[in-house]
């Protein structure tokens, strides 16, 4: 019984305190500005307990933007492997979901899911800050629903 209670509190804590790290894998920086906009007074994700972190070691969620360019591919994998589990990946913007408007270019792989297991896709080019917050809230629900990752 104690194990169940511990798991529940862990899930509550993971849900309520998401530490985010942002990596742009080669897109136009439209989505990146909207992600930075989340920190500013109008959207302010700190009230949801979400804080932007500097080092992959401290982060739980990897917010990626951009169609994975071949040069940034190794960097993306390095960051994901440095993050302690349980960790989640959120693909922000149409480029990171499917390659978006740059589909067909020979230097991009088109989409984060080709490299990393993605938990939440947020479409939009660029996606609005409200959409990113909605995606993060969906990630929070997803954390509290499924068993420990």
């Amino acid at each position: 019984m104690f194990k169940e209670l511990l798991r529940k509190t862990y899930q509550w804590a993971q849900k309520k305190s998401l530490w985010v790290i942002h990596f742009n894998t080669g897109g136009c920086n439209g989505c990146d500005i909207e992600i930075l906009d989340l920190l500013t007074p109008r959207y302010d994700i700190e009230r949801l307990g979400i804080v932007a972190e500097a080092s992959p070691r401290h982060a739980d969620v990897l917010l990626c933007t951009g169609p994975v360019s071949r040069q940034a591919k190794t960097g993306l994998w390095q960051i994901y492997s440095q993050m302690p589990s349980p960790k989640w990946v959120v693909a922000v913007g149409s480029c990171s979901c499917t390659g978006g408007v740059f589909k067909g270019s020979d230097t991009i792989l088109g989409g984060i899911e080709k490299i990393l297991p993605v938990d939440v896709f947020i479409p939009g080019c660029p996606c609005r800050p409200e959409a990113i917050i909605n995606g993060l809230l969906k990630l929070q629900e997803r954390i509290s629903v499924n068993e420990d990752k």
């Binding site: 360019s69 071949r70 040069q71 230097t107």
Partner: protein
Amino acid sequence: MKINNLDALRKSMADSLKVDCEVYRGIDGDQTLRIPSAELKRVVSFLVDQMDCRHLSTITAQQRVEDPDQIEVIYHFWHGISFSIMTMVSEELPRLPEIVSILPGADFYEREVAEMFGIEFVGREETPPLLLPDDWDQGPPFIRNEDHRE
């Protein structure tokens, strides 16, 4: 010394440098002078030193469908008016003199043209890739045997 129009520039280049250059094609809003590729370095140093025209906007390289084995390299300058210097290079032996020693600003543009069109700039110590990924193995992307405009 301001360059008011291109003919004055062409005359001064012709007599001072003994370089035969003819107006290649008056691009709308921009005049182009064609010079043999060997004379490139002298012309650019003449422009930079005597004419004090030092703003090189960029270096464009392209291939025209009508003569596929020639690569056209255009140096776009800006000095009050916009004009450019153009040379032709053959695709089998793409070699051009470098102008980084005269204009350090041209470094990035030369590296980009070198990796995109496979042109070798003689005289540069090293031409590291600028934009293409490290694991790029398909040769210069703009030079493809089949027409890449499918």
